[in-house]
């Protein structure tokens, strides 16, 4: 009987009862850490990052004002850049999705820029903006905007025409149709675009800091790995990974909460 309910709940493979003490995820996590620790101890020089070293570095790195300032600078640049990309990307994406002419005119450029590995613009942006935070901001915006733009355009062009006809027959005008029909209908696409954009923005900020050597998490990693403080540098990697995964989970959760009816396999990358 217990077996039958397990089959119903989780398919054949979970029919075998598993002991709750052996959580496979936990076991795998521990195994990965052990393997890393052992490899680093046996084969690598002493400065190479290892779990125990990173754990010991954690308190002093997190209390280090330089680290906190670097984290603040990078995350602020990412937030600012993504905000700019959301505003510009949504506006242009709506134009592309709702106007045939704008769509045809812009798609060529947007697709080409989107296919360009965003990192190639770094030397150019550092020529244009100098080795400053502006170059980083520009890189973040460039990295983030196209996935938002393409997803918004997709969303805006697939609004069911019935919605718009109803709005028209109630004498809704252009702007209120966009604000009250198109944007809400395209919201899941906008969120999917933002989710992709945030990941790319983070990469953009880090590479810009590598390239221009302006203070931030990327530069913190670069500096500490050059001065053989790999454990300290790795704490910054963990923060970046946590930020990337955390934001991803947040948007996914937000999509489920705000739009429970919505299911979409993938976004335009």
């Amino acid at each position: 009987m217990a077996q039958l309910s397990a089959v119903v709940a989780g398919g054949v493979e979970s029919a075998r009862p598993r002991s709750p003490a052996l959580n496979p995820r936990l076991v795998a996590g521990l195994a990965i850490l052990l393997l890393w620790e052992a490899t680093a101890r046996l084969f690598a020089p002493a400065y190479v990052a290892r779990p125990t070293g990173v754990a010991m570095a954690l308190p002093h790195v997190l209390a280090d004002p330089a680290f906190l300032r670097a984290a603040g600078l990078t995350l602020a640049a990412v937030a600012e850049g993504v905000a700019i990309a959301i505003v510009l990307g949504t506006a242009l994406g709506l134009a592309m999705g709702r106007s045939l002419v704008a769509g045809r005119a812009l798609r060529l450029w947007v697709n080409s820029f989107n296919a360009l590995p965003m990192i190639v613009v770094l030397p150019l942006f550092s020529l244009w903006f100098g080795y400053t935070g502006s170059a980083r901001l520009a890189t973040v915006v460039f990295a983030a905007i196209f996935s938002i733009l393409l997803n918004v355009a997709d969303g805006a062009s697939t609004v069911p025409s019935g919605y718009i006809e109803v709005a028209r027959s109630f004498r809704a005008r252009g702007w209120s149709i966009v604000a009250e029909i198109v944007v809400p209908a395209a919201t899941p696409y906008i969120l999917a675009g933002i989710r992709l954009a945030a990941g790319r923005a983070l990469i953009g900020a880090v590479v810009a800091e590598f390239f221009t050597a302006i203070p931030g998490l990327g530069y913190y990693i670069l500096y500490n790995s050059r001065t053989f403080h790999h454990n300290d540098a790795f704490v910054a990697v963990l923060l970046l990974a946590g930020f990337g995964a955390g934001f991803d989970a947040l948007v996914a959760q937000g999509t489920r909460r705000l739009l429970p009816w919505y299911r979409r396999d993938e976004a335009r990358e």
Binding site: V12, A105, L202, L222, H230
Partner: protein
């Protein structure tokens, strides 16, 4: 192809926008200095010069070699491991969280470690491309495997399907389209990895042309190299989409 009114209506805005964009590039380039932004004409002149002086072709081949080696390794590792994880539920449950985390981690952050551990050779650069490309493949394959309806396996089992037949008839065909979405994403990320490796490890290939050009304020050569990378990017994206659609037909 006949150019009736309808196809003109489709093509005219794209063509006009292309011409307008290129004209804008030329005008802005002429109005500013070549150290700031080379015009289209200046970029094409540098493109021809670089080709004729024999600089361009070897560097393009070097970049292509790096990209293809890294991508091939990512496929060779990602596809079998992804399939194994698709079938072995315990392994998948054990590892999916870590694959998701690594998929979301900006891999560029690891480049300084790779540099300090492995130096400047070809190997570390291939590793960078590999790291950028392998996790999208793994992540999407695992996501696909997770969405296999248990009934499919159950039905196969109740028809006394052998393990081999189960793989051939159910697991692989079901998971392949997801894996192909991963391959498409991997192509885009691998290209970023290629340029990142060429910028931040040792300067080779098209990345080297861009770096050298930026040090000499030679934006013409810089745009020429970016243009070539862009053409590659567009072509590879198309290829990725075509491959994905080829395998994803049943999903739509």
């Amino acid at each position: 192809m006949t150019f009736d009114r309808a196809s003109w209506g489709r093509l005219a805005p794209s063509a006009a926008s292309l011409v307008a964009g290129l004209a804008l590039w030329e005008i802005v380039g002429q109005a500013t200095s070549a150290a700031f932004m080379a015009p289209l004409s200046g970029t094409l002149v540098r493109l021809v010069e670089l080709t004729q002086s024999g600089v361009l072709v070897p560097e393009v081949l070097s970049s292509a070699g790096l990209f293809l080696t890294g991508m091939a390794l990512a496929l060779l590792v990602g596809a079998p491991v992804g399939l194994l994880l698709a079938r072995a539920r315990v392994l998948r449950e054990a590892l999916d969280l870590y694959i998701m985390l690594l998929y979301a981690t900006p891999m560029v952050a690891l480049i300084p470690f790779i540099l300090s551990l492995m130096g400047f050779g070809f190997g570390p650069k291939v590793l960078v491309v590999f790291l950028f490309a392998v996790f999208p493949i793994l992540y999407n394959t695992v996501e696909g495997a997770r969405s296999i309806r248990p009934e499919l396996i159950e039905v196969a089992r109740s028809f006394r399907s052998s393990e081999w037949a189960l793989w051939r008839e159910v697991m692989v065909p079901y998971t392949l389209p997801f894996a192909m979405t991963g391959v498409r994403q991997a192509i885009g990320r691998g290209l970023v990895g290629m340029v990142a490796a060429e910028f931040f490890l040792s300067a080779t290939g098209l990345g080297q042309i861009i770096m050298t050009a930026s040090q000499n304020f030679d934006t013409g050569a810089m745009f020429a190299a970016i243009l070539i990378i862009g053409v590659f990017g567009v072509a590879l994206t198309r290829l990725g989409r075509a491959v994905e659609n080829r395998f994803a037909r049943w999903r739509n």
